[in-house]
């Protein structure tokens, strides 16, 4: 394993700029690719079977899902590989598109037009700009960053304080005020709430996913040493990089800065866990689903699927602990919470779609796969995952 990795060392060194992505992340990406290939092969094989083996409708759904996962994976992987800025821009565009679908699906009135313009072209880019700058002005690295930090008198300021409240406070107050200025009072509260909610879900919540990259992560895992087999096995490069004093000074039980991991890897882990949560919930629901949670909202979400999905996600999330700063049981807890929030998101979006009389946000306009359908669970899980990580696994004192 060592030799194989050494062989790719120059390539990896190029891709491993700073602490963005690293070897465990690539292993995870590799595992995901293998699973996706397996899923595609199974789907295609079953496609050639006579119809009585598996139900064609189920198979069609499966194949469509696999295609959607490939697409998601390709987009996310491309964003991550191109670096932090590209990831931010990517999430910004996803937010923009999801917001577009959400507002298209939600009836608004003429008087909301100017407000919507602000929502699309001011608040959305602003949020991602703030998240993108994030904590990089605390200790600005490059000359231009230092210049900007001094110019804006933001040196040493973590913009978390601004991007975590801009939409819930300022945008939420601005939206009803701007609608009031338009002079149309019909269903005023409802219209304000629709726009506020869409901004909160599609932009604010989702932006927490790339914001993960700004946390100064801490870990309780024992420091990596040359004799350690657990993580050292897959981390040949980090061993070489790590300063020996760092590992020696820290007592192994106490929390220490998480130096061996990649922030991009944590983001990938998070998205993967949310998607797995969706998949397991669907699978358990199909296998043993008896008690539907709320037939009026979504006929396919069952308690069995919910519990089974969350537990299975916790197990798989725990098995992937080596990508994260979490210990095994911590990874299990985080994955469990993520899966629960993911289904909450799916349920909420189902309720909204049911209210609007559509099955998928994508079917509203033919030919468009609904971005919102794909990211609803991510939107709900991202803020919780972020804040739990921030509180328990980062240096925010």
């Amino acid at each position: 394993m060592m030799i194989e990795n050494l062989h790719f060392e120059p390539l990896l060194a190029f891709l491993q700029s700073a602490d963005w992505l690293n070897t465990p992340t690539y292993w995870l990406v590799f595992v995901v690719i293998v699973v996706l290939i397996a899923a595609s092969v199974i789907g295609q094989t079953l496609n050639r079977q006579p119809e009585n083996v598996v139900s064609p409708a189920l198979l069609r759904t499966f194949n469509q899902r696999v295609r959607a996962w490939w697409m998601m994976f390709a987009i996310l992987a491309a964003g991550l590989l191109l670096g932090y800025t590209c990831t931010i821009v990517l999430f910004g565009f996803v937010s923009f598109w999801a917001l577009r679908e959400f507002i298209t699906m939600t009836p608004t009135r003429r008087g909301d037009h100017r407000t919507l313009f602000w929502v699309f072209f001011v608040f959305t880019p602003m949020q991602y700009l703030l998240v993108g700058v994030g904590s990089s002005l605390v200790e600005p690295q490059s000359a231009s960053a230092i210049w900007w930090a001094d110019k804006l008198m933001l040196r040493g300021v973590d913009l978390y304080g601004l991007y975590s409240i801009m939409i819930p406070v300022y945008a939420s107050l601005y939206i009803p005020a701007r609608i009031a200025l338009s002079g149309d009072a019909r269903r005023f509260l409802e219209r304000s709430a629709k726009i506020q909610f869409s901004l909160l879900i599609c932009v604010y919540s989702l932006s927490y996913a790339p914001a993960l990259a700004h946390l100064d992560l801490l870990t309780s895992k024992p420091a990596v040493s040359n004799t350690s087999l657990s993580t050292g096995d897959v981390l040949p490069r980090e061993i070489g990089d790590e300063e020996p004093s760092d590992a020696e000074l820290q007592p192994s039980a106490a929390r220490r800065p998480w130096t061996e991991g990649g922030r991009g890897g944590l983001l990938f882990y998070f998205i993967l866990i949310v998607q797995l949560g969706d998949i397991f919930q669907y699978a358990w629901g199909k296998l043993l689903g008896q008690r539907v949670i709320a037939p009026q909202i979504n006929a396919s979400r069952t308690w069995e699927g919910f519990v089974g999905g969350a537990l299975t996600t916790a197990i798989v999330g725990a098995l992937l602990w080596w990508v994260t700063p979490f210990r095994i049981w911590e990874a299990a807890c985080m994955s469990f919470v993520t899966a629960v929030m993911g289904s909450a998101g799916g349920m909420t979006m189902s309720a909204i779609k049911r209210d609007r009389g559509v099955t998928d946000t994508g079917t509203l306009v033919q030919g468009h796969a609904g971005v919102l359908d794909r990211i609803d669970s991510i939107c709900f899980a991202a803020p919780v995952f972020y804040h739990l990580t921030r509180y328990f696994f980062s240096d925010v004192a």
């Binding site: 577009r100 679908e101 608004t108 003429r110 313009f117 699309f120 509203l364 306009v365 468009h368």
Partner: protein, 187 residues
Amino acid sequence: MAGSSVRWVDCQPETCQRVYFANHTSHLDALVLWSSLPRNIRSLTRAVAAKDYWDKSAFRRYIAGSVNALLIDRENIKVHRSPVELMIQAMGDTHSLIVFPEGGRNATDEMGEFKSGLYYLGKKRPDLELVPVYIDNLNRVLPRGEFLPVPLLSCITIGPPMWLESGESKQEFLKRAREAVKRLKDI
């Protein structure tokens, strides 16, 4: 640009001479409908637009020119150069037209009454296919009286061609045409 999707319902994209008639709620209507047609049809299709608006500034002229618009004077209508005459002249025997029979952009949710131009077009050129088109959501992208668009998704539905029936009165025909557009909303 407006993220629009196009649906052809009981109608195929063809280069035969046609008059596409649609509801009108936004300045973008002509632009989006024209650009949603396949390339070979687009080059043979002209949108009919109001001269008093689209001839006013260089930018508007540029936009109108880019969709090969046929500018018709709404105000100084002369007997010997009536809009219908001009349209038929412009069509020759190759081109198709996009018209908005409501005559102007509609600010309400309900579609306005159709003006008679469509009837006379159908009467003078009975060979033309009259194709109803429903444009959904563009009024939210750029409503009347606004100049900044909001990037919502829109949908264009193109329906089955119709013709002027023999002995059909103007009123009956215009009502039928309006219903044809309206029906596409719910498909």
